[in-house]
Amino acid sequence: MTKAMHRIQRKNKFLPYLLILPSMLLFSMFTFYPFLKTIALSFFLTDKRGNPTKWAGISNWVRVLSKETFWKVIAITLEIAGINLVFTFGLAIFFALLSSQKKKGGKLYQTMYALPMAIASSPAAAIFLFIFRQKNGVINSLLGGANIGWTTEMPYAMWAVCIMTIWMNVGISYIFLLVGFRAVPQDLIESAYLDGAGVWARIWHVMLPMASPQIFFVLFLNIAISFRSFAQIKLLTGGGPANATKNLIYYIYENAIINGRYETACVQAIFLFGLILLFTSLQFALEKKFVHYQ
């Protein structure tokens, strides 16, 4: 660090706090406060408006965690998140690398890859219900008139949920990755090429390390998104058949929004928070090793 910069930083002792102040104020009102309330509510019984009515100690926690359904839901949550994370991330990297070099017609492909994310979940689900329909559905027709209940039979319902989730999520990861790959200086790629590096070597030694900050962000985003796959489950299977596609976020929605059982939803929400936190922490533990900052 240069002397000049030291001088400026000393002068601006309060500047960084000032810079984060607006964000923190907004977070405090609409995220920290309600979430702290959530934590508090998990130790009470509540009415349907989410107001505490009776102190319950840890009985809510005991009740939620001792329920067999809860652990089944956790397993399903991990399964859905895992499948989506791997495929969304993999496909997005693949497509972004494919279109990272400026080519004719590239814009068309970019639009194609990224378009699904523009479609809201309810019309998307209408389209997918049409595709997955048992009678004359697109997939069953392509399979030569198969008679598979894609949203009503296992394991197909799980596949249906994952296919729609991946389809919905690839686009945004793709865009963020594309920005990262496009920012890799062209001369670095060219000099690697002149040094005799093949396609794989250029990707592995130049593109991926140089874009690693962006890739790191996309991974982070995907962890959060895939643990919270919700709309597609609500609209495609409703968590069925027999709870086979019910994940934690859907469970929370049922308790908080439909049943008005906030204390139950709060315990589950804290658990989900912890789950995402765990995976994100693992990711951050690897930041120093794999992410290359300038």
Binding site: L19, T111, L115, V179, I276, T280
Partner: protein, 234 residues
């Protein structure tokens, strides 16, 4: 057309579009959605840039803790905070207003994290050159770092537009009157129709999709430009 058992539409017609516009004030809803999106995107770009700049380029006490808190916001399940936020908005007397619609969307941990990654990836030489040129911290941010961030801003704006434009439950909660409704509620209203007209549902969906697609196509140019377009030399 009510019960499409065919793979492909049988005939082309604009009737469905006319019917949809006659039933639901989609243009009004569209306007509301766009207003909310534009306010939220500008606010997030500004607030996130400021905060991310602090996290990426300054050292200060509690930085790690504060940044962890920012990241933690992305892990909070919205389903448990939404009702509390609705009560907050009601206490502020902001139901049925753009302010009520947009307030919880003015910042996000995702936006701050994305901008932080951008600043960290920015070559250090830029900052040194700017400092030598006599640029202050804020001068560097506004005159060097932000113009270079156009592709990142574009990707963030596209992401936020889609997120906020597709919101359903929050706008449903905070607006009581049709005049303040957003587009996704209009679509849900059509879908809830007790006699299904698949054609009309799709027509409504197409109208709803159009702005997102437009935003994407417009934003795409900025993304494609890449870093080179800035051509910064200090």
């Amino acid at each position: 057309m009510s019960y499409p058992l065919h793979l492909l539409p049988q005939h082309f017609t604009l009737e469905n579009y006319q019917a949809v516009f006659a039933k639901v004030p989609l243009l009004l809803y569209l306007k509301n959605s766009v207003i909310v999106c534009v306010i939220a995107i500008f606010a997030q770009v500004i607030f996130a840039t400021l905060a991310a700049y602090a996290f990426a380029c300054f050292e200060f006490p509690f930085k790690k803790l504060l940044f962890s808190l920012v990241l933690a916001t992305t892990m909070v399940p919205g389903e448990v905070v939404v009702v509390t936020n609705y009560l907050t908005i009601q206490n502020m007397g902001l139901t049925n207003s753009y302010a009520g619609l947009v307030l919880p969307s003015l910042i996000s941990g995702t936006a701050i994290f994305l901008m932080r990654q951008y600043f960290l990836a920015l070559p250090k030489e830029y900052k040194e050159a700017a400092t030598i040129d006599g640029c202050g911290e804020i001068g560097y941010l506004f005159r060097v770092a932000m113009p270079l961030a156009v592709p990142t801003f574009a990707s963030l704006a596209i992401y936020l537009f889609v997120q906020i434009y597709n919101q359903f439950f929050w706008p449903l909660l905070v607006t009581h009157e049709n005049a303040m409704r957003t587009i996704q509620i209009g679509i849900a209203f059509l879908v809830t129709g007790d006699v299904i007209s698949f054609g009309q549902i799709l027509a409504g969906a197409m109208i709803a999709i159009l702005p997102s697609v437009l935003v994407y196509i417009l934003g795409q140019d900025y993304i494609i430009q890449g870093m080179t377009a800035g051509g910064i030399k200090g």
